[in-house]
């Protein structure tokens, strides 16, 4: 008998929760704000679903009810991706060590 692919995805999900648990505990508290902004950016990988949704329309009608939601989701997720990664980069660039170049 074959295993339902859902079980495989569930396994990945559960294991990822554990990875997340250990990785996030090792994040230094002073970087908790960048942690939030970067998790924000990466959770916008939901854009993958938005792209599939947007391109689901056929070639003579790019915009239909279903694909419009996809296009809107692309823009929303893109705000997050660019905004999230860039603001994280901006923050991380500010963390400096003591007496450099002094």
């Amino acid at each position: 008998m074959e295993i339902d692919p859902f079980i495989f995805r569930l396994s990945i999900f559960i294991l990822s929760i554990f990875i997340g648990y250990y990785v996030v505990w090792s994040v230094t508290p002073s970087l908790h704000t960048p942690l939030m902004s970067v998790t924000n950016a990466i959770s916008s990988v939901i854009i993958v679903g938005a792209i599939i949704a947007a391109l689901a329309g056929n070639s003579d009608s790019v915009f239909n009810t279903s694909s419009i939601f996809g296009f809107l989701a692309i823009s929303l997720a893109a705000i997050n991706i660019f905004g999230g990664f860039l603001v994280t980069q901006r923050m991380l660039a500010m963390y400096k060590k003591k007496k450099k170049g002094k």
């Binding site: 999900f13 002073s30 908790h32 679903g49 989701a73 893109a78 660019f82 007496k99």
Partner: protein, 465 residues
Amino acid sequence: MISVNLSAIFYLVSGVLFILALRGLSSPETSRQGNFFGIMGMIIAITVTFLSIGNFSIGFIYVLIFLLIGGLIGAFIAYKIPMTAMPELVAGFHSLVGLAAVFVAISAFLNPEAFNLGTSGNIKLGSLIEMSIGAAVGAITFSGSIIAFLKLQGIMSGSPITFKGQHPLNALILIAIVILTYLLCSTQSSNLFWILLVTSFLIGFLLIIPIGGADMPVVISMLNSYSGWAAAGIGFTLENTALIITGALVGSSGAILSYIMCKGMNRSFFNVILGGFGATEQSANLSSKEQRPVKSGNAEDAAFLMKNASSVIIVPGYGMAVAQAQHALREMVDTLKKNDIKVSYAIHPVAGRMPGHMNVLLAEANVPYDEVFELEEINNDFANADVAFVIGANDVTNPVAKTDPQSPIYGMPVLDVEKCKSVLFVKRSLSPGYAGIDNDLFYKENTLMLFADAKKMTEDITKNI
């Protein structure tokens, strides 16, 4: 067009890169590299999606246009936003993830063929369950984050909004959501899908309004977690590994941060979520307290005390962010250091409006991160320090948390500021903090109150040193 298996492997790679992105944040040195990994992971995920669809017709151009519009807005915000507004920004971004999840779910519900989920009105049961969960959690994330954003921006009052029957109503709506999901899955009715979305928007709104401004660190972390679970729900629907991995990572990350924030306040998660904290005690406390004498001073007194100290510990709080005093503070510290005075910073876990808020502000003001310490690292040093300079913090220094079991903040870990030889307290007035509790520290023999705007006072002190 690339094969399903090949694209699955690429999605896995991008998931691994996201794990490395979070791993990088374990220290400031590796963090920039971590962010780079995150960006790579995102580029891979998006490219693979295009290649696996393999449709580079006119629709593809439109996708790029929408991507670019969003990207430009995002980049613009990222460069313009002041660091003090970071909590609002993160809350706003959470709402976008939530809404994007809702939109993807709607699109998948309307056109399941495009996602291989069956046909309209006959969607595979498993997919429909996953889709409903993703959509509901996404909707809650969206409306909850909007409320959090409005409260943080000050557009909406930061004080808790409570009304009679609030909790039973919320419980009722949550039960309704579960029943709606069940009915939706058994009937496939599109009307039920819309009702489910509306109810979820409503509950997100109702869940956040009773939570006060100072509990925002927990709320933001919690919404962070929700946005992750929403993404994971959609990931199951789309059978996409990158989304499932990311959703799980973000979900657990937010949950851990909420836990850390709750522990920083010695409150249970449910206590925060049920909300209304600080709304009731305030009046009772104000009337029962008699006038007690306080010593207040000016910038010269403060400068004199600090000049004669050999070590100073700075305790920043939300008030510093409000007054934008971080740069003035750094200048003051520079002057102190020139006089060979040892200075360090003590950060309470819930100082500010989001996890790590104070650290970012100090970093922005060019304070080296190895001078900034967490509560456990520095709490023993107060006894040996000459001056504690409390700027914009209040409840996190209140010794009542250690001495009075009746106090609402009893048991909360606090900074042992009172052990310092003298305490300087920059504050606008004697008003109690958000918890509505009088701070005993104000009336201590060795406390000098400096009633002024935090930024102005700090600048004046610098001039006098």
